[in-house]
């Protein structure tokens, strides 16, 4: 069985494992206050051209999302998100468990627009019952989105502007950020993101690390006491250096982008093959996630050899499914799949 169902089926990039082995018996202070974390923070701030940013390392995506949002909001405030947003659908109500409503916007491609945000904000604030409604205070976007789409630089500029105008924090979930930046359709740089977002994270779990996400906070309002929140929410790793070491490796020789580009390229080849074979797509995603629509019969056939994830029924005989590539995908597996399409 060859797994294309997600981008976290394997362990870590070999260079990361190797570094973990090399540093294993070093004695370091705990909780992210070691030299590896320090160096990783420095490398990430350089990559973002954000010398004043605060960088923190957390273990996983849900944990990161809930910690960032809990740290930013007062009890009566909520976070605006696409209805398909990960925090709205697939985190078991973690944001609500921290006390906050997710205010959803409809979307078909996983993205939300500046106009939608502005309207949502105004509908909540300029109503006579405004105090009876949740106060929007943050906008959550994923880039790439859960549907593999990405925001253009123009789109992010507009979102950022609307947020600033309305006093909203802009938070980007970058669980798959590398695969977005590596897309041939991408127009954003890490520097743009650091400039336009108030806080975002660079995903490691799905991009070469065993686990780990690097939160970058550029808005000074969001910086105070963030480590208290990490600890309270259970995200402060005792051996914090494990996270530092992994992000050191990912950011010291451009490895993060290199392996992302590898996955993006394989995804492009696979996407082309689907298109050439006459299949259409649920959504036009230019990153490592491909949402292809295929006849159920064909899918059954493929299931004998490949694992992929079910997305939704399209009609009586067709379904949309998701194929993912990643840093770990083997070229020969993609080639085999292309042949079998």
């Amino acid at each position: 069985m060859i797994r294309f169902n997600c981008d976290y089926s394997e362990g870590a990039h070999e260079k990361i494992l190797q570094r973990l082995v090399e540093t294993n018996m070093e004695q370091t202070p705990g909780y992210g206050e070691d030299v590896h974390c320090d160096r990783a923070r420095k490398l990430i701030k350089e990559a973002c051209n954000a010398p004043e940013a605060d960088v923190h390392f957390l273990v996983g995506g849900t944990q990161t999302n809930l910690t960032v949002i809990a740290a930013a909001l007062r009890p009566h405030q909520g976070v605006i998100a696409a209805d398909s947003g990960h925090i709205n659908v697939h985190e078991t109500g973690s944001i609500e468990a921290c006390g906050h409503k997710v205010l959803t916007l409809p979307t078909s491609d996983g993205k939300i627009t500046a106009k939608q945000v502005d309207e949502c904000y105004n509908a909540h604030i300029n109503d006579e019952s405004f105090e009876h409604m949740v106060q929007p205070k943050m906008v959550y976007i994923s880039n790439p989105t859960e549907l593999g789409t990405i925001y253009s630089k123009d789109e992010l500029e507009e979102l950022s502007k609307v947020c600033k105008n309305n006093g909203l924090y802009l938070f980007m979930d970058g669980a798959r950020l590398g695969y977005g930046l590596a897309s041939t359709a991408n127009t954003l740089s890490l520097e743009d993101i650091a400039r336009l977002c108030d806080v975002f994270y660079i995903g490691g779990t799905k991009v070469g690390a065993l686990f780990g996400e690097a939160v970058v906070i550029t808005n000074n309002m969001l910086k105070p006491d963030f480590r208290y929140l990490i600890k309270q929410k259970g995200g402060m790793l005792a051996k914090g250096r494990l996270l530092g070491i992994q992000f050191e490796v990912l950011f010291e020789n451009n490895l993060y982008m290199e392996i992302s580009e590898y996955a993006a390229k394989l995804a492009d080849e696979l996407r082309d093959a689907f298109a050439k074979a006459g299949y259409s797509f649920l959504v036009d995603s230019p990153t490592n996630q491909i949402f292809v629509i295929m006849p159920d019969k064909k899918l059954d056939e493929l299931r004998a050899k490949y694992s992929f994830s079910y997305q939704q029924r399209i009609d009586e005989n067709h379904s949309a499914v998701r194929f993912c590539t990643s840093w770990a995908t083997r070229r020969e597996d993609v080639e085999a799949l292309i042949k079998d399409i």
Copy 2:
């Protein structure tokens, strides 16, 4: 200015005030453990033909909703509601502040169907990522709804059946229950409601009382330790007898239904007048709330003399607004308004 904007513009029915005056210097134990609360509980259980029910008195609607829901759910569980449901829109995220997601269903008339509930439940439970999603465990309905509509006995039977089949608690917000029961379109009795819901409340604030809601719990699973929750959430009135006295008066000589019928009748007259004058309605509501669509010019004219609440824009020149009657509405005010329509 004559206020038709809501059903809580005045104090309490004169009989309630009178009883409060008469009992004022009685010395009673606090926190709902007095003879008045006991008697009110007895009267309500009789009215519901639910001798085994637990009855509790709380001060207001939001407080009641959040207390009932917090008492019923585990942290990963959520409550299904209409997207127009009061807990979803107008309680400042109180349910989320207790840690629970409101899972919304689309509706145009404020009501949700058994089919919608069933589909929502199955979509959450029969998915391979089910543990990554909130687990539906309760269904919240309002009767009358926020749009003045009511559930028929058949509809409530079906909802109840789907809930039982799926292990969901059915909770009815009865903030305006009297006005629903008093509607000429109504097919439900208090007894039906007690039989079909696991928990519901009988609203006092909008139906003759100064304030107060009577929660009726019929499902044994929801009974244990409910008073702890009332206290923790700030809803346990020190002088609990104030609530007992009010519900005693409301339920001792059928006053609750009598004053509800009075309001329903005035609403019917007003509704007929709007219809006769050629206006259409946003929603066909048979209770004390009337959502009429009128030209903005006409509305401006009426605003000089009457207060009503703005609902939504219909087109460039028309808006939907809400007129409410209540136990306190003066017949002459309705007559004046009818003339001015």
Copy 3:
């Protein structure tokens, strides 16, 4: 049975009831935005000489405490309180239910000292594991305390100073504030309290009202969006004018102090009678709560005629019990009790 067990056994002062009757059919806007609330706010700000303060009305004490604390703190912050503090012992964990730890200080008389606060703060902040501990951000005191004692002006000045130095908010629970201000031992004025605390409340429930507490916020940091919190926590009364009317009456002709002094005087007489009869006290409380130590036999005797509350066992044959007076206590009842001592 004559009840001395608490100070909320009766309804409201007759002037309040009378005003409720007089205003009953007035039509007012809801949620505290009516003329009665406005006037009550004005009267209270005048009484406190705090023209810039925000004044809000809530229904009860637990609700007020949890709303104020939830509004003030970020998730990792806690509130320092006496271990006997109401929020620590008798509110069913309402503060923790809002996510915050109560950091307790030992006390034998219900009061905490500036020195204790300073030490507690420093122990949490100047530790190498400071981020692993809750961050103290608020100090909660009750005045009178749960043991009937009161803070002197000097003590409150010192507490206030330590709080300001350490960036802590000082919050006074004034559920029985009238009885404290009316004590012959009192050295504080409402004006002092408004100047020295960041937020406090003036209790109505135990001092003449049917129910209701008036929160006074003097620190600008605590003002924004407070009404959102009131709504979310279930404390925003639909017919808010009920609270406004009550506080209008209490503050329009010095009624609040007048009835408090009445209760204080009766307590003094009762206290003297206990002392004269040779009984000692658990704590030297100069307000309406008397904690007297008596032989169990004598207590059994008194129980036939009087209700009082059990505090704690002292030795094999003696217990401490609490007798309360209030605005509603009848002079003849006190005289009867004095005779029976």
Copy 4:
């Protein structure tokens, strides 16, 4: 600088690293549903002789504590713990952030007694204001405690009995469980613990793993939907197999006990050396944590070469400090330290 300050200064046992390298490119399902987690679960259940237990893997201790407690308690329920308990002091209020009060018992050695638990329970339940207080529902103990002490089999039997009698869940935090089981003073087996506790965890982070704790749930009441809670609280590792692999290695050839015994032996040698040198101890701890009292001058001298953690001031010239050994401590470092004492 040689670090004796804690037991999480290094990475992982070499066998664990080696296995991670060997399995790195295996493709497995995520979220703990892989073959490695399955096998680790099996090995742990065998080691505990608890075939019916549920075993879950989480990343860290705070996360595990908050997830277990949030899963077990209703909103009005609290957890009893030693005042020195980790959840009470060093988890930034994580339990309160989940809504629950920690009810503390005084202790000088980190342990609590069955008698204390019984008294605490009864004080909360058999009081006339019981509904105004938090309801105790769980007892949290650490074994070894934060002060390095351990519970005897008799003590745990008694605690378990009191808990069962009072309907309380008994939860053991086993962050350092290996070092407790390996103590020469120990009388408990994993099997005893599984039999006597309702839920406990076997710590990996401090005992040979990179990170990870294995929760063992034996009480059926605590089993339903636990994975939902893990996900919601951010503890469900995408690459769950990382945890499975580590616990497989730790439990497949008795490695867990072997490395724990190694650390325990080194601690014994160090403890003996301190005693021989005439130093006394803050607490008589028979595990890998040694709390020794030394002159400040001597400590300054040692600080030049060794890192250890400061516990508390004893008198003007003496302090208590903590030295830890672990699976990773080098014998030569202990020997050097012994010489320098």
